[in-house]
């Protein structure tokens, strides 16, 4: 339990095996700034400051079950206060005794670098992938490197390097960094609530990082205006681009109780702070369509820290997860000092970035019913680039058939209005209709009357209207097995 006496005013973490107590302004910096400017570790490069290029990729080791679990993250949108109790490994920390790692040597031999600016990020990301496996296939690398952009090489030499390195000479991070002493130190000393206050007057910033939910809601009760940060993949971008740090920050990163992910017989029960990587893993067997969409959600670096709760309360009509959560009638649990309530996600949003979260409330849990065997669910995400892109259009179509007749229809369309659109007229129209091209063509036409798309950098209103029209036909043809040509 947190108490005043244990309140800390700095965070404790390790970087490349070295212990750092970080307080004051430095605790409010981005990890990449801390590495580059405070520690002089300039191997971590900054390009976009928005988690969209991966040049700043580092590994974050979180203590779990007596060991560090390392994951790649974009250090430009991680803030120091999110990292209490962790072990950070940057490109400078990958090798032992200044020896080149087999992966680094392979990158050299395969001409995996040209200008070299993205290279440390790729090396770190690939090394991170090797924490869980011995060898990397081209398929692994294509999936695992979607968060790293390279403008020079055309990627092929990097894939060569990743598949051809000398695995027998590779050392995992736990071999390079003995874990016991660090874990012990962190367990003992990275506990209790943290409060950091810097500056004064208009330059005053305060950070509160509790280690249990009750402290969090208590703080929120007293500071309902606080900016809440979990993964920080959206807030972090905003801070970098506006160069304005919120006045008051509530950090949820240490609330492990909100991280849980469980699959029950007919539903997923997800803590709001569950990372997308954890949700992706849990969905693999039980919700294959959702799993497929999650593989093109952001990038590994984003999924490793971005949370399902953040995606929901960020309230973007283009959020990848929402159409699925809508058609599955997901239930949100909202907690505050005055109690807990449950809201269907379909009733949660009232307009662009407007939602039913009362002052002092935190989203803590999401219950997602799983698709049943007797229904057909398809999810769609259309974007300019397949991976690491924000959707131009999303959709979920969930139909239950009685023979060839549509018995139930749930449809959600994204990026075509200020919130996700449930086209109720279309759902009504479909009931009792035969599942035919004519029906679906009509449904598409009807759906265009229920949307209000805008033109923006990701596509014109006409494009989004046409996609709305077409997605029903696409669904129809995708569910006509005899028409599928290999």
């Amino acid at each position: 339990m947190a108490s005043y006496f244990f309140m800390r005013d700095s965070i404790l973490l390790y970087v490349n095996g070295h212990r750092h107590l970080v307080g004051g302004q430095s605790a409010l910096r981005s990890l990449s700034d801390f590495l580059r400017r405070d520690l002089g570790l300039i191997g971590t490069k900054i390009v976009c400051s928005e988690g969209d290029c991966g040049a700043c990729t580092v590994l974050i080791g979180r203590p779990r079950d007596g060991r560090f679990v390392y994951q790649s993250v974009d250090s430009c949108i991680q803030f120091m206060f999110q990292l209490d109790g962790m072990h950070i490994v940057s490109v400078e920390g990958l090798s032992r005794n200044d020896q080149m790692t087999p992966m680094q040597q392979s990158m050299i031999d395969c001409h995996g670098s040209q200008c070299g600016f993205c290279t440390p990020g790729f090396v770190v990301a690939m090394t991170g992938m090797l924490e869980d496996c011995q060898q990397l296939s081209t398929a692994d690398l294509r999936h695992g490197l979607t968060g790293n952009l390279c403008r020079c090489t055309g990627y092929t030499p990097i894939l060569d390097a990743g598949t051809q390195f000398d695995a027998s000479a590779h050392h995992r991070l736990k071999e390079i960094y003995p874990e016991a002493a660090m874990l012990e130190d962190l367990a003992e000393n990275a506990a209790g609530d943290i409060e950091i206050i810097t500056g004064s007057g208009s330059q005053k910033h305060s950070l509160f990082s509790p280690d249990d939910l009750n402290s969090a809601t208590k703080f929120l009760d007293a500071h309902p205006e606080a900016t809440i940060i979990a993964g920080g993949t959206d807030v972090g971008v905003r801070i970098n681009k506006t160069l304005e740090l919120p006045t008051s920050i509530l950090d949820l990163n240490r609330l492990t109780e909100m991280e849980s992910v469980s699959v029950e017989s007919d539903r997923l029960v997800l803590g709001a702070r569950a990372s997308w990587a954890a949700v992706e893993e849990a969905c693999a067997g039980v919700a294959p369509e959702f799993h497929r969409i999650l593989t093109v959600f952001g990038s590994p670096q984003i999924r490793n820290v971005g949370t399902i709760g953040g995606n929901i309360v960020n309230a973007s009509p283009i959020a990848d997860s929402l159409p699925f959560l809508y058609v599955m009638e997901s239930m949100l649990t909202l907690s505050s000092q005055s109690g807990t309530r449950r809201v269907n996600i379909n009733d949660f949003y009232s307009g662009y970035k407007k939602f039913d979260l009362r002052p002092g409330e935190l989203l803590t849990k999401i219950d997602v019913p799983l698709p049943r065997d007797d229904e057909t669910l398809k999810l769609y995400k259309v974007s300019r680039r397949r991976d690491l892109d924000i959707a131009s259009f999303t959709a979920a179509i969930r139909l239950r058939f009685d023979g060839n007749t549509i018995a139930e229809a749930s449809i959600a369309l994204g990026a075509v209005g200020p919130t996700i659109v449930r086209p109720r007229k279309v759902e009504q129209f479909l009931l009792g209709k035969p599942f035919s091209e004519a029906t679906m063509r009509q449904a598409g036409e009807l759906a265009t009357e229920e949307i209000s798309p805008i033109s923006d950098v990701r596509g014109s209103a006409e494009y989004r209207t046409q996609l709305t029209r077409n997605v029903f036909l696409k669904f129809f043809y995708e569910n006509q097995p005899e028409l599928l040509i290999a």
Binding site: R36, G43, T44, K45, I46, V47, C48, S49, D52, C53, V91, E92, S95, M100, I108, H111, S113, Q114, C115, G116, F117, C118, P120, V123, L141, R142, L145, T146, N148, L149, R151, C152, T153, G154, Y155, T156, P157, L159, L243, V382, R384, R385, R386, D387, L388, D389, I390, S392, V457, S460, E462, Y463, L467, N470, V471, L473, K474, L483, L484, I485
Partner: protein
């Protein structure tokens, strides 16, 4: 111990993979160093009345703030036409155009200082669209023209005619390291500028002009760039001038590092083009006459636009012979940042037009586009004169096309694709083979020169300095290989020094794919001077008059790290020993080499000449799959066959081929620049501007080179490789156009470039709405 021809790693590979290679923002700050940034124009077009810098000085930590009035020398610069202000003065030309420079003690103070500066101006309506500039006749510079034969007559008399308008979008270079410069004030008004630039000589010149000092008082150094692709040929100038101005005025080191958003908003890109074309051809698809009127979007100042447009005209033929041809080009003024160099430099825009014309002819005649291409390909010994009069000899294109078609099973896949498209309700496949013939040399004659400084030390190690800058393309390792081979030593004994105007003066930009050609040849020339002196010395050293062996320099050879007299090869002296002894005998072990490309010349007035030293050639076969309902695109397979002569470094060259191709793939598919109606770039970061990611690689990707020995005029029979492969990416666009031809009856599909999902869906929708849409065209 030959190293030319070996795939040695990049010069900085170890630094890259360990993160220890330093880019400008990685250089430790000096005491007293200032953070420098700029305040940009709030409007794309307008009149500037006043800049109030006083509020900035109220911010603690702001040290200086300068406007055009503070520039001690010239405020207007430009390589071809001096028409670009360093800092805006009177006229505001594009959104974000630098108006004031702010210097501060910290990044935070700089940010607050930037926000505090007040700009008083009156906004006017900007010109943003090419069509508007054309109708208002707002052009930069003169019309360019190349013509041959009687185009009007032959267009009229041809059996078939087609015409159309083709538009290709601009492209952001998207180098990962943004524009950057650090300036250090020196003694007596001198200044040292470190710049992430492809053109140190130009930086030296513009900094001298802006500061009102002599070029001899400015040194520009470039160690490396984190990518450039043309975007740092001229565009590095403004940040360098900012840093230099602050350093001169304050006497303190000054650092400018653009952030990605600013960089993308305010720097020039590949030119957007609109081309009106007319073609006349016979029943076999052979072109009799072609007219192209090219309009490029130059932006708000000339920059390199005339040279880019010239290269467009010179590549309108691409790989194909056109007997009667008229090519006209104009540069349109718009209120956008001045567009500039980008890999291919006007070539891609021209070649895309031509490949589109060929696809259109094929669709019109209901023939396979490959047959149309073969019918028009440059001949060997006949049909081999370019529109500008240069004879295209050493033409490998017929063999390259035939080999690649066979290797890629083009004909068989064509059948499979037709069948697939007839049956699939969900997808359409397309296949196309396109080619390149890319002219190597600057079309501006005087730039075809290079110089090099080679210093041999007494331990047998060598430092080489040339005008070439290293941006990732591997020029340093290639020059190391060339120099190492001259002395028959290991490349580890040769180091390429940072490019500096102190070592190499009056250099050309690292551009036009020609840097190894020019600088490598200059370095070899310097080596040969030193070798000649060492041969003189070694001849005496190895002679043995008592044994009847007289000194003979021509018999002195450099072999495997030793120096020998070939008449008595068993006596060997280590190279370093010869160097050490030579110095003691007062032999000069340093030399400067020079190279000027022989025989190139082009007359802009007549549109005739021999602008190119040789041509890099190649072809690509791309297959695409498009989703009939979303327009989404996949590239299941690509085959490339590229003629790069005898490769100096096959590893580096393979990287250039693949990397260039993928950049071209980005240009033709996913990279879309989106502006709002006020001239603001909306796609100004990787969140909204989508370069290819790893999953956009073709699923099957076969890359081969075409072996030949005939590029004898160039260094070690190699060929330039930097730019040409980018244009092989056009094959992907042509394959999309081909796929669409299966989607409906519309004969002329108006597919624009890039073929984004939105653009493809627009075409699919248009096809479906065509009057005869029920009958799907599946012929072929």
């Amino acid at each position: 111990m030959k190293s030319v021809g070996k795939p040695l790693p990049h010069d900085s590979a170890e630094g890259h993979v360990t993160g220890q290679a330093l880019y400008l923002d990685d250089v430790r700050t000096f005491d007293g160093e200032l953070h420098v940034g700029f305040v940009g124009s709030p409007v794309a077009c307008g009149e500037l009345f006043a800049v109030d810098t006083q509020p900035a000085f109220a911010v603690p930590g702001v040290v200086a703030c300068f406007t055009a009035h503070d520039v001690p020398g010239h405020n207007i610069f430009g390589l071809i036409t001096a028409d670009e202000p360093f800092l805006a003065d009177e006229q505001l030309l594009y959104l974000g155009q630098p108006v004031a420079v702010v210097a501060a003690e910290s990044r935070e103070a700089l940010e607050l200082g930037r926000q505090a500066v007040r700009i008083e101006c009156r906004a006017a309506k900007p010109i943003l669209e090419l069509e508007e500039a054309i109708s208002k006749e707002r052009f930069l510079g003169a019309r360019l023209r190349i013509a041959r034969g009687d185009v009007d007559k032959k267009l009229a008399s041809a059996e078939h005619q087609l015409s159309g308008t083709f538009s290709s979008g601009g492209q952001e270079q998207f180098y990962l390291e943004s524009q950057a410069s650090i300036a250090y004030p020196g003694e007596q008004g001198q200044i040292v500028v470190h710049s992430s630039t492809q053109n140190p000589t130009e930086i030296q010149a513009v900094v001298a002009e802006v500061l009102g000092v002599g070029q001899h008082e400015v040194v520009c150094i470039c160690k490396r760039m984190g990518g450039a692709f043309g975007g740092k040929e001229t565009q590095a100038a403004i940040p360098a001038m900012m840093a230099a101005l602050v350093a001169q005025k304050t006497g303190r080191p000054a650092r400018v590092i653009y952030n990605k958003d600013d960089d993308m908003r305010v720097t020039g890109k590949r030119h957007e083009y609109l081309t009106r074309w007319e073609v006349g051809f016979d029943a076999s698809g052979r072109i009799e006459a072609l007219r192209c009127n090219y309009f490029s979007n130059g932006g708000a100042a000339t920059d390199l636009s005339p040279a880019v447009l010239e290269r467009t005209l010179l590549h309108s033929d691409n790989a194909y012979y056109v007997p009667h041809v008229e090519l006209n080009g104009r540069i349109c003024f718009t209120n956008l940042p001045p567009n500039t160099a980008f890999r291919g430099f006007g070539g891609p825009q021209a070649m895309a037009v031509t490949e589109n014309v060929l696809e259109s002819i094929a669709q019109h005649l209901q023939r396979d586009a490959y047959d149309i291409r073969l019918a028009n390909l440059y001949g060997i010994g006949e049909r081999n004169v370019t529109p500008y009069g240069q004879v295209f000899d050493k033409n490998h294109l017929p063999e390259i096309y035939a080999s690649l078609a066979a290797q890629s099973q083009y004909q068989q896949r064509r059948q499979e694709i037709a069948q697939f498209n007839a049956n699939s309700k969900l997808q359409l496949r397309g296949l196309a083979l396109t080619g390149i013939k890319f002219g190597i040399s600057f079309t501006t004659k005087f730039l075809n020169q290079g110089n090099a400084l080679v210093n041999v030390y007494t331990d047998g190690t060598i430092q080489v300095s040339t005008g070439a800058t290293e941006m990732g393309q591997g020029v340093n390792i290639k020059i190391r290989q060339l120099v190492a081979d001259e002395f028959a030593i290991n490349t580890s004994r040769v180091v390429l020094m940072p490019t500096s105007t102190e070592k190499n003066n009056n250099t050309s930009p690292t551009a036009a794919s020609a840097s190894t050609d020019l600088n490598g040849a200059a370095a070899v020339e310097a080596c040969q001077k030193i070798k000649a002196r060492l041969q003189q010395f070694a001849a005496e050293r190895l002679a043995d008059p008592d044994a009847g062996l007289q000194a003979s320099p021509r018999h002195i050879e450099f072999v495997d790290g030793f120096v020998i007299d070939s008449r008595r090869p068993q006596v060997r002296v280590e190279f370093q020993q010869i160097c050490d002894e030579a110095r003691r005998e007062r032999v000069d072990l340093g030399a400067r080499g020079f190279f000027a490309t022989p025989g190139v010349d082009f007359n802009r007035e007549t549109g005739r000449g021999t602008p190119f030293f040789y041509f890099t050639q190649g072809a690509a076969v791309a297959e695409v799959v498009i989703d009939r309902f979303t327009g989404e695109l996949r590239v299941p397979r690509v085959d490339l066959l590229v003629d790069i002569g005898q490769s100096i470094n096959p590893g580096v060259d393979r990287g250039q081929i693949i990397g260039g191709f993928i950049q071209g793939l980005g240009w033709v598919t996913s990279e879309a620049l989106v502006y709002d109606d006020q001239g603001e770039l909306l796609s100004h970061s990787p969140t909204t501007y989508k370069i290819p990611a790893v999953t956009d690689l073709p699923e099957e990707f076969n890359v081969t080179t075409f072996d030949n020995q005939d590029n004898v005029q160039n260094i070690r029979r190699s060929k330039a490789v930097g730019e040409p492969p980018l244009m092989l990416g056009i094959s992907v666009w042509a394959a999309v156009k081909n796929a669409l031809s299966y989607g409906g009856p519309a004969e002329q599909i108006d597919l624009r470039l890039p073929a984004t999902g939105e653009e493809v869906l627009r075409c699919l929708t248009q096809l479906a709405a065509a009057p005869d849409a029920s009958k799907t065209t599946l012929a072929k």
